[in-house]
Amino acid sequence: MGLERLNSLYREVILDHSDHPHHKHALPDATHKITLKNPTCGDVINLDIDLDDHDKIKDIGFTGDGCTISQSSASMMTDAVMGKSKEQALHMAKTFSDMVMGKKHPQADLDELQDAAILSNVMTFPARIKCATLSWWALQRALLKQPDGSVDSDDSDKGE
């Protein structure tokens, strides 16, 4: 088969995001911070989210190290959720994780993901689904966590 099938995973837009990731920087004063690791490969994402008084994502940034898929996914995620409310962002995280598992969602939900919707092809590479979802998990965990600044916490569903 050779590498032709790789084109469906490593689309131009994905490679662009991994080469020049958007919002790849720390936000020292963020209201929500989290560090997540993918234990199978050692990839790390540090996600900083700054919510305003109305629970809207005022700013978001990430740092860390990972493969093309995880880096571009994080970049596309930050583009997609910037300016969104906490509830909207959580809904998008759900849409994304459903999408890469092959579950159907209304087109409007997928459109909301912007570039990130292109990662739906990752579902044909099961070993790489975790790479794509790491940053969205981080988003979900960070938003559901009490904004006490602690990292790597497991109390993800205390809510607010």
Partner: protein
């Protein structure tokens, strides 16, 4: 390269298939090896004709199963040249064997202020048991680091191993860098200071002749599945006097002498350490794997892998942008080769190689302290075995080139 082993590939039905439309090239042998027909048939035969529980029936099948199980133990004993079959304990695998030693010998012999010495290249299975033992006891865990060429720093080892040291535990061969460690020398050093030496043989026993008496190791653990036996079976070799003095690891059926209401006595070796119904078919399969390897000869296996590494390593290192870790001298390298492609994450590399039908591992290889020490988060790893051929090595080389081109140009030509 013309190796007489090139035909053994036909013994492995799993290799005769296409993956992503290409002939499968299986280069993940450090994770698990494939099984030859001889092992698969031994398992089937056992279940079809001899299956029963061992050492506790007087009926014919129980006698046969017991004979099969004990025959497998003696095959392994001979294979590693252990003095007595009672010193060969069946375990779940290498991890289980190392945990056994840490939880029994370690628990009984380590106190606050003692030191345990391991190396920075250890697999987590020969690291965490000692780390947690040290933490429980208030002992200190010390690490032997590496030379620039990815070998153990023996000068540092000589400084670290002192009269305070109670246990030295080091891999015989690295699962990441392919380094073969001089464990005979380390065992001698440990003994000079009154410490015991524990060898992790997971990456050595499948690939080279191992003689536990010559190495003079006190304990030596390895897995069946990396040497073409079934999963869920492994071996712990231990010197009789140490095993005799140790408390049991687990309690239950089969491992007892006599059980009273308030106290019990323990079975003789090796049964003291084989509580509950064991992986009997696994032991039989491991015995068949030993027969298979013995039939070929461990020197021939080693020579074959050495030829592959001699052929492949310089060619890999010559590819622009490929970084190979571990010893650069092929003679010091097992068939385990960790590498990275410049500006490319190993996960992306492994996915691309898989599209070419080449199976490699990518990740931290259960050696996170080593990765941290080397300043890496992950590597790709190709690992060879006796059924791999020069054609397989060539396929890897071509796939690496194509992967490089794909990510450098390929879909990026508009940039």
């Amino acid at each position: 390269m013309d190796s007489t082993l090139n035909k053994v590939m036909n013994d492995f039905p799993i290799l005769n298939q296409k993956v992503n439309d290409e002939r499968l090239v299986y280069l993940d042998n450090a994770a698990t090896a494939q099984r030859p027909n001889q092992v698969i048939k031994a398992l089937t035969h056992f279940y079809q004709t001899d299956n029963a529980n061992v050492h506790r029936g007087v009926h014919t099948l129980a006698e046969r199963a017991t004979a099969d199980y004990e025959a497998a133990r003696r095959k392994v004993q001979k294979f590693i040249n252990a003095p007595e079959p009672e010193e060969v304990i069946f375990t779940k695998g290498c991890t289980d064997g190392l945990n056994l030693v840490a939880s029994t010998y370690g628990e009984a012999n380590i106190s606050a202020g003692d030191e345990i010495v391991i190396s920075i290249m250890e697999h987590h299975s020969n690291l965490i048991p000692w780390q947690q033992l040290a933490n429980r006891k208030g002992a200190t865990l010390k690490y032997i680091h590496l030379t620039a060429d990815g070998e153990l720093d023996l000068d540092e080892a000589a400084q670290l191993i002192t009269d305070k040291t109670k246990i030295v535990a080091v891999a015989h061969a690295s699962n990441v860098m392919g380094t073969v460690n001089p464990i005979k020398q380390l065992a001698k050093l440990a003994h000079q200071h009154g410490a015991i030496f524990v060898g992790d043989g997971a990456q050595a026993v499948p690939h080279m002749a191992v003689d536990v008496q010559d190495l003079d190791v006190d304990f030596y653990a390895f897995s069946g599945h990396k040497m073409m036996g079934p999963t869920g079976i492994g071996i712990l070799y231990g010197k009789r006097q140490l095993l005799e003095a140790m408390p049991p690891y687990q309690y239950g059926g089969e491992m007892i002498g006599f059980v009273h209401e308030q106290d019990s006595t323990w079975a003789e070796l090796p049964y003291k350490f084989e509580a509950g119904t064991q992986n009997i078919a696994g032991a039989v399969g491991l015995g068949a794997a030993v027969d298979y390897l013995t039939g070929i000869g461990m020197d021939a296996v080693h020579e074959h892998e050495q030829q592959l590494v001699n052929y492949l390593l310089p060619k890999m290192e010559a590819i622009d942008g490929v970084q190979v870790y571990g010893p650069q001298d092929p003679a010091k390298h097992t068939g385990v080769i960790a590498f990275n492609l410049e500006n490319l994450h190993p996960h992306d590399v492994a996915t691309a190689l898989d599209m070419e039908g080449v199976a490699v591992r990518a990740g931290h290889h259960c050696a996170q302290p080593l990765m941290t020490y080397l300043g890496l988060t992950a590597t790709a790893r190709a690992s060879f075995y006796l059924y791999n051929t020069q054609a397989d090595a060539d396929r890897l080389l071509v796939a690496i080139q194509e992967t490089k081109e794909f990510f450098n140009h390929g879909s990026r030509k508009t940039k």
